[in-house]
């Protein structure tokens, strides 16, 4: 028997025990990104195969979930998105103007704490539909921040961009989701239409800087 078998077995056991708890998270994110159960399964398998291959590069004590998700995001971008890259130009983060779709008061009231299961289900479906219409970049942002509840720092590591960029991309994604939700909710009669001034967001850093100057 080759001499390194024991080492491989120990490493394999450790990897399995560390990775298994995140299978649902990986699949959930993969399914929302690819929108196809078959592609999602492939993506998760490819992710775990890569993770296992490069397991020795994982720094013990750091966030394993974020590490797995980073591998998955890279795999997704490199392989599954290549075919649809052209579409990205029109659907990507630069496509929609920032600030679009900020909720009005009546919309907010209609969607805050829906009463009854029927209303909840209806809004739940609308959220899914609005989410599916988002660009891949925006979907990833909403998934990582709002569904998986990862910190901005973790997200910045997963998608490979500075925290400030995470904030503006996340802001844009949320506003797009809300905008789409609002227009459909009005059409479906879940809420009444209203009009309110739409604001342009400014980066938090700029806000802090302004605050510093004032004080």
């Amino acid at each position: 028997m080759p001499r390194n078998t024991k080492k491989i077995d120990a490493e394999r056991e450790l990897f399995e025990s560390e990775a298994r708890p995140y299978l649902d998270v990986l699949y959930s994110v993969a399914l929302r990104l690819t929108r196809s159960p078959v592609d999602a399964e492939d993506l998760v398998q490819d992710t775990l195969v890569r993770a296992y291959r490069f397991y020795d590069r994982f720094e013990a004590g750091t966030n394993f979930k974020a590490w797995l998700l980073r591998i998955q995001m890279n795999t997704f971008v490199n392989r599954y998105r290549r075919a649809t890259r052209e579409r990205q130009v029109f659907e990507g983060p630069m496509a929609a103007p920032v600030g679009e779709g900020v909720m009005g008061r009546a919309t907010m009231r209609g969607l805050t704490d829906p009463v009854g299961d029927a209303q909840r289900r209806l809004i739940g479906r609308e959220i899914q539909r609005a989410f599916d219409e988002l660009s891949e970049d925006a979907r990833a942002m909403v998934l990582l921040a709002d569904v998986e509840e990862l910190s901005y720092k973790e997200i910045s590591e997963i998608v490979g961009c500075p925290i400030g960029t995470v904030m503006s991309r996340l802001h844009r994604a949320r506003k797009q989701l809300q905008g789409s939700l609002q227009s459909h909710a009005v059409q479906l009669g879940i809420i009444e239409d209203d009009e309110e001034q739409v604001d342009d967001p400014i980066p938090l850093e700029a806000f802090r800087a302004r605050k510093l100057v004032k004080s």
């Binding site: 491989i8 399995e16 959930s28 399964e41 775990l48 959220i127 938090l204 605050k211």
Partner: protein, 264 residues
């Protein structure tokens, strides 16, 4: 702090990403401003509803096991210290499985009475074909997406999976899934023939045809095995075995195998 600023950075506040000093300022503002309170309640509620409607998905039951099979492949290569391309021999672990399977077949063989002249390895695989049909495991690819079949099996089986097509219009594709016949990665394709289930297993194993009986149906070469009174018919295409088994009469099963077409 103005309402405008509070609302612009509400997301970061709800995410808990504002520094402590800013957070206190936010909280003070909310205490005094019912309008912003409403925005806060909405932001939190929408966050919760988003999580509810998009999260909580569970991975399919077999996904972890399938992943482990792929990790096995890496381990086998690592154990050998060879590159995946060079490594095609039978590995220790697999040899053991075959030995175990052969032992199991000895026992099963004693019960169902396997045909003489078939070696144990082929007998095990044939028994698998029969068992996999009776288990009727759920499909991973559904009939609504037959074009997904080829893609689904990419990277799973060492050969491209091309579903068989039939002249008979009564034969309908139902679904497919990844499976193993003996130690060989296989594609199980499910069909329905006039209300009867038919399972078609695609896998690579030269011995299964070598040990088979051979006949000619309508000018086409059909191999067959007798497995404890059941007949499994086999066609070969591009080095891949297409093993047919189903709830059908023998002549129908032969006809089906003979009429199967595979696009190149």
């Amino acid at each position: 702090m103005t309402c405008k600023l509070v609302r612009r950075h509400l997301g970061a506040f709800v995410d808990g990403e504002t520094d402590p000093a800013t957070q206190i300022e936010f909280e003070r503002h909310f205490e005094a401003c019912p309008g912003c309170q409403e925005h806060l309640a909405f932001e939190r509620s929408l966050r919760e509803q988003t999580r509810e409607s998009l999260g909580g998905i569970h991975a399919p039951e077999q996904l972890w096991n399938r992943t482990l099979h792929r990790l096995d492949e890496i381990d086998v290569v690592r154990n050998d210290g060879r590159t995946p391309l060079a490594a095609r021999p039978m590995h220790l672990r697999q040899t053991w499985i075959i030995a175990a399977a052969a032992a199991a077949i000895l026992i099963i063989g004693g019960v169902v009475g396997l045909p003489e002249g078939t070696d144990y390895q082929s007998a095990g695989m044939l028994q698998d074909v029969v068992n996999l049909h009776s288990q009727a495991l759920p499909s991973d690819v559904k009939a609504e997406a037959p074009q997904e079949v080829v893609r689904y099996f990419q990277g799973k089986t060492p050969f491209p999976v091309k579903p068989a097509q039939f002249e008979e219009p009564s034969v309908k594709f139902v679904g497919a899934r990844y499976i193993k016949v003996g130690v060989h990665p296989a594609a199980a394709l499910y069909y329905n023939h006039g209300g009867h289930r038919v399972t078609l297993l695609l896998f690579q194993s030269p011995e299964i045809v070598r040990d088979a009986q051979r006949t000619n149906v309508g000018g086409r070469e059909v191999y067959y095995h007798n497995v404890g009174g059941h007949v499994v018919t086999i066609r070969q295409h591009g080095g891949v075995n297409y093993a047919f088994y189903g709830d059908l009469d023998r002549p129908v099963l032969f006809q089906l195998a003979a009429n199967a077409r595979v696009e190149d």
